[in-house]
Amino acid sequence: ACSGGEQGSASTDDPIVVGISLPLTGDFSEPGKGVQRGYQAWAKIVNEKGGLLGRPVELKILDDQSNADRVVSDYEQLIGQDQVDVVVGPFSTRLVVPAARVAEEYGMLFVEPAGAAKEVFEQGFKNLFYAAPAVANDHYNHLAEYILGLPAGQRPTTAAYAAMDDPFAQGTAYGLKEKLEAGGIRTVVDEVYPPNTTEFSGIAAKIASSKADIVVGGSQYQDGVNLIVALQQLAYQPKLAAFSTAPTSPEFAAAIGNKTEGILAPTGYTQQAPYPSNVEFVEKYTTQFGTPPEEDEANAYTTGQVVAAAITAVGCAEQGDCQRKLIEWVRGNTVETVVGPLSWDATGKPKGAHMIQQWVGGEIQIVLPGDAKEADIVYPKPAW
């Protein structure tokens, strides 16, 4: 078999082929498509500026059908058969780990947009870097700080948690739970539900009857919506309600009948972020796709930015020894991205934190941390 190292430095007009496997169909297809758009936007913007090292960037995207077997054989194909120059990560923690292993065994750099659960960084990967500000468990850090900082009279005393059984979603809720419990806020409901749950009235009944002061959902999109509707059907009114992912989606308000008032959510990205590359990204993305980018798109774009920075700095992009240099560079440097400057620890974990947004007056706005806020946090939350 021919191996990649032999080809030497490619000629200047040879494109740099970036191999990606994405869940374009199956359970993760919705975010998968978002990630795809982010990558596409990145390739387009890079190529408009003359490519990398003077070579155009070409994406080779395979569909892994949201299936771990497939994701592995996809990367196997990309690296072994298609001889792509670099690979970047797929979507969902479940797919990131097996994919990263293939990349590692072929010695490839592996920057990924979606493996946010802390377990990803416990596997001992030396080539993996998560291109976002923080891992799931740290998403609510600012909120925890805020709650625990409230004066004793206002501070909530009980909390209810409901999390999807998914490393990412659960990670967000449990990150907050850990900190609040340490701060003395009692957990009265702690529910974990399987990813395919659609019937939430039972969980909602438990939460409502516990009369918890705050409710925290470790959710993806659909389950978050269902849980909120089920809670509203039971006329439950908490003082604070935080859900991951769902509230930041553009369809969210309509989905729950516009009863959004006061709902909180963490986010790693906002279109309003002042970083220079973000202004360019939002503008060009919007012209390309007609709508502004969301978090998934931004994460993919960030991934592209990290890889581009490494290739430009090291001056090569092919399989073989070059990959080792790329990995070393990423480990030792900070990259300016649409989500701000990113750097990583030895396990590939980013060293940042998420912002907290809240629905205020029918619009979602950043309320935490104080230096980035667009509006003041409303607490206790008005009735929904």
């Binding site: 374009l24 297809s29 771990a68 196997e76 690296i79 479940r94 659960a117 059984d165 490393p167």
Partner: protein
């Protein structure tokens, strides 16, 4: 001493086509073995080799499935779960009990085989549709358990199985596993073949046709079913375990999936459940087709539609599988089968009587002769 209960009076007619067919089969076998042995060196890159391993894995699984499905006619959509148990068993034994990889694989296969006794004991009590439903339920319930019992199985965080050969480069690793899978497949085929030609096998087929009748003929149907289910579970679990060692990452959602189970059925059915190499052929076709659909319709869920159509076509037009369909096609060129007698009752009578006369001349009383009705 000739007696009435020993009616072997006719001579067996041996057909010349039998030997031709046998020779053909030997040639086929040699070609097959040669192809399997040379594939790793022919594969242009590790990806092709890994794709080949996936097909072998499918072939192994659907051959294992065919122990139950082919012989007894019990259609299990739950074999994916047995493979998942084998995989998790192997993984857990390596990570939690610290057993060496292949010892863990063997132990896991045995444990699953042992577990198959109570599972089979419950599931095999019901026939037909209920069994299918139970087999589906097996997958779903194991999925729930392996997902919820996170402290032991890792839950939705998955389980990472350490490599048995940490020093091998990935292409080498694939090559080793290719031969391991091929070896296990050969073993499964051998056992299937042995059962197929045995009295045990004939008993199983009788169960497939009419269970109560088989029972009344003295076939301990429940024990037979259970034994073959356990054998099937053992092979399936071994396949799952081998896969775990090769693949490395286990996730309950993918290990306990009805879709996997149904792929196995599709493969076996396509190739022909009553034939030794049916599932193997089916795995080759379906494995390739799945890959092709993915390339052709990647990015849209139409690959699902294509898979569904393939299954529907097989069920509708080739319910016995490709191999039997081909055999039937060849049969078309032979004279049509006669179920109606060629001789009238009168001629038959004559034949019989002349036969008797001839035999009496040889002074050999043969059964079939009307005996005088006298009582001791």
């Amino acid at each position: 001493m000739p007696s009435a209960s020993d009616p072997s009076s006719t001579t067996t007619i041996r057909r010349p086509t039998v030997t031709v067919a046998r020779a053909g089969r030997v040639v086929l076998l040699v070609v097959l073995v040669a192809a399997v042995v040379s594939f790793p060196s022919l594969a242009p890159n590790p990806y092709i080799l890994s794709a080949g391993i996936l097909v072998l894995n499918y072939a192994l699984l659907s051959t294992s499935w065919n122990f139950v499905g082919g012989f007894t006619g019990y259609i299990s959509l739950g074999h994916g779960a047995l493979a998942g148990l084998g995989a998790y068993g192997t993984g857990l034994l390596v990570t939690r009990a610290g057993l060496p990889s292949f010892l863990a694989l063997g132990v896991a296969a045995l444990v699953v085989a042992a577990l198959a006794v109570p599972i089979g004991y419950a599931a095999l009590r019901v026939r037909g549709a209920s069994f299918v439903i139970v087999s589906i339920a097996l997958v779903l319930v194991l999925l729930l358990v392996f997902q919820s019992w996170a402290s032991f199985t890792g839950g939705s965080r998955g389980l990472t199985v350490p490599r048995p050969f940490p020093d091998l480069l990935r292409p080498e690793h694939h090559r080793v596993f290719w031969f391991l899978f091929a070896g296990l497949l050969a073993l499964a085929l051998l056992v299937w073949w042995l059962i197929d030609r045995s009295r045990f096998g004939l008993g199983l087929k009788a169960i497939r046709e009419d269970e109560d009748k088989a029972e009344s003929l003295g076939i301990p149907t429940f024990a037979y079913k259970l034994v073959v289910f356990v054998v099937s579970a053992g092979f399936t679990a071994a396949a799952g375990g081998l896969y775990a060692l090769w693949f490395g990452d286990l996730d309950p959602v993918f290990q306990f999936s009805i879709l996997t189970g149904s792929y196995l059925v599709l493969m076996a059915l396509l190739g022909g459940v009553r034939t030794l190499f049916g599932p193997l052929l089916g795995a080759l076709v379906v494995g390739t087709a799945l890959e092709y659909f993915k390339v052709e319709y990647g990015g849209t869920p139409l690959h699902l539609v294509a898979t569904g159509l393939l299954l529907a076509l097989v069920v509708l037009f080739m319910p016995d599988g490709v191999l039997p369909a081909v055999a039937a096609m060849l049969d078309r060129f032979r004279p049509a089968q006669q179920s109606i007698r060629e001789v009238t009752a009168a001629e038959l009578r004559e034949q019989r009587e002349s036969g008797v006369r001839a035999e009496t001349e040889l002074a050999a009383t043969r059964p079939g002769t009307p005996s005088t009705r006298e009582r001791a």
